[in-house]
Amino acid sequence: MKRALCALALGAATAACSQGQARPADSPPAPQSVPRPADPVPATYRPVPAQPPHIRGGTVMTAAGQIIPNGQVLMVDGKIAAVGETVQAPANAVVVDATGKWVTPGVIDTHSHLGVYASPGVQAHSDGNEATGPNTAEVWAEHSLWPQDPGFVRALEGGVTSMQILPGSANLFGGRSVTIKNVPSRTVQGMKFPGAPYGLKMACGENPKRVYGNRGGPSTRMGNVAGYRSAWIRAADYRRRYDDWDRNGRKPGDMPARDLELETLAGVLRGEILVHNHCYRADEMAQMIDIAREFGYRIRSFHHGVEAYKVRDLMARDSIAGSLWADWGGFKMEALDFTRANLAMLHQAGGIAIVHSDDPTGIQKLNQEAAKAVEAGREMGIMVSENDALRWFTANPAWALGIQDKVGTLEPGKQADVVIWSHNPFSVYARADRVYIDGALLFDRFDPSRQPKTDFEVGLFPAEAVR
């Protein structure tokens, strides 16, 4: 984890990295060669200690190729310890009877605005678009995120254990995303997914030109592209200056002036920050692929990609994931060419298909969204296996967020984010009965003491009103 955080700190000295953590607040700052903390918002999340849960008797779907009827899952110290028909459990294990139920990895959403567009959706909670200029790569979603958004708890009830919180799509560069564990916390730091890389939100098409058309531009798609390219030229220059400084021994007096916007963009050019690109139309996705090639960065995932099916070969070729909806479309010109078969067609072409939400209700039912997309594929003869469709909302989003070695499948060594479902998760009747995060039972549908509530939901009604 520490290494990943250091890597994120652009041009930071190793010494700064170790000193950036766990320094008593009252001691004077230690002298630093670089006046910059390794990680300005360090994650403080620690798994809740729990006795080892030993799930027995359910249909275990690993999302790693196995579907084990009457299988078992053992979690020890917050990690998946064993998965199989039978596992060796320690004496202190807590047996969880999942007979007749289904067991899957926790649900992961690559596209949420929970906390930055929190419920209730009043203007005072509108913290997702810094719509004051078309390039706000300098803003970080975690600086907006309100941990008391009731939507987090609703998502947990839907089996969601991790998600990426993105800035909105008003801007060409919307700012940094943050990936979180869906755990109750007073602070954003207490939700941050330790070691998860940052993302950069970019947006194509109608939104930026609509928002800035009368405010100095861009007002056209070509204006959008000029905006991306100009920024990448500056970012490449910024990166070069820091590389030179690095090569010349990092003399404190020579350190180039910091720039928050370019720090983020240079992080992308270094491959440390993953690009999440809101883009609907096929032709624009092809343009964005060329821009990425021109400046030497990679797009990790297109988001929304209503026309992904038209460029599914290009996306598969470059390993660009498609974070897609099952059936949203028609609401604007760039969404007009939607087809319900989008996910299945990208999947069939060898692409990395992800069902995403961009919605505080949709995030609660990503399993249902996947089911609809599976059905749409069947209508045209594409038969997606349960394992593959499960990966659409577990392993594949984990890959898109750069946390695929930590979560996304039920495999030994991974973090124990696990859902027990009442029915097959592709059934509309399925509900998450139990949700574990890092081996701790954070939601139990049948145990009121395991049903978290946000501060906002406390005392909303007089006690006698809701009897």
Binding site: F331, T339, M345, K365, R378, F426, V428, Y429
Partner: protein
Amino acid sequence: MNRIFLAAAALCFTAAPASSQAIAIVGGDVYTADGTPIRGGTVVIENGRITAVGANVAIPAGARRIDATGKWVTPGLIESSTTLGITEVSSIDESNDQEIEDVTSRRDTDDQVQAAFTVTEGLNPRSMVVPIVRILGVTTAVTRPSGSLISGQGAMIDLAGNRVEDMTVVSPIGMYASLGENARGTVGGPRAALSMRLREVLEDARAYARNRQSFERGETRDFSVSRLDMEALQPVLAGREPLVVEAHRASDIQLALRIAREYNLRLIITGGTEAWMVAQELAQARVPVLVKVLNNLPGSFESLGATYENAARLRRAGVQVAITSGETWRAYTIRQEAGNAVAYGLPWAEAFRAVTLYPAQIWGVADRYGSLEVGKVGNVVVWSGDPLELLTQVEHVIIRGVEMPLVSRETQLRDRYMNLDENARSYPRP
């Protein structure tokens, strides 16, 4: 004006396609929505109507047989709150006909009340959206206006036909008003201003009806709304046309109940996020609620009590409930809404009726719609399994006795891109 539309509706109704070939759906499990399912039953549709339903019925000579062995046969689903036919692309103003937004040419006092506005004449039977929805099992929809305190009047349509007259079931089907936060802007804010203005309009319409001749002579006091609006409100005041009120907060629903009682109106609540909190009152007043099931976030201060169990709790209290998606392009997600109602406590048969028989009853068309019964309109869907399950496929859609091709813009684009070769796509072989 209303009378003309009613006449048109009546006309189109007798004009079901007489030339359509008889269809016999055989061997399926027939879920009629008004009784117990018939295993291996038959449904016969002739001249646009259902002429036989049962386990052992004669199949008319010359009927086209649809083998539904192992399949489910149900009435077409009824979506109670859409803008189908009056919206193409919601962000493109020119393709939207559900709301009067430009009030500059109207008198100041008119901007909150559009009672005379009826969506029907703006309906586009050739909307690209209609096939997208109907190929997934929705055969009938209420298409509704929006905006203002009184938005205007909706229409119930079948999702087939080339003329408005050919698709209209009832027009107008109801008068739409809002006591929700979305209407605040039209009265400058407070809730009590919404109800004050609504009462004023109802009073004016009543006084106008008593003094029509004086009005024509210019001998009445000034009324706060136009003559057309007051005319349009007469069937509502007479209880012939329901007042469909959007209300979410429990107290707003109670306010709607109070006004309906005072003026003896037929009330339908749409939205009703906190309706479960006043379920007893709704049941006593016999006021039905149109519920969007997937609504559990305190998204605004009028919906702090949102819960997925709304439909189940209302039903348990004896309130009649129709389930709606509230969507247009995605109106077919009504089956997902109903499925989730089951997951959150509504018995399956009740959820199924909440998208078939109950909306037909709520909208007053249960003599012709909502179940598979002899004499009813031939709107029938054959499914590969439980229609509320998302992996279930639609196999046949029959509207007014005519089988619809399972093709829409969305499936055609899909098929066009099955092959990525540019030539094959742009110059397909005929």
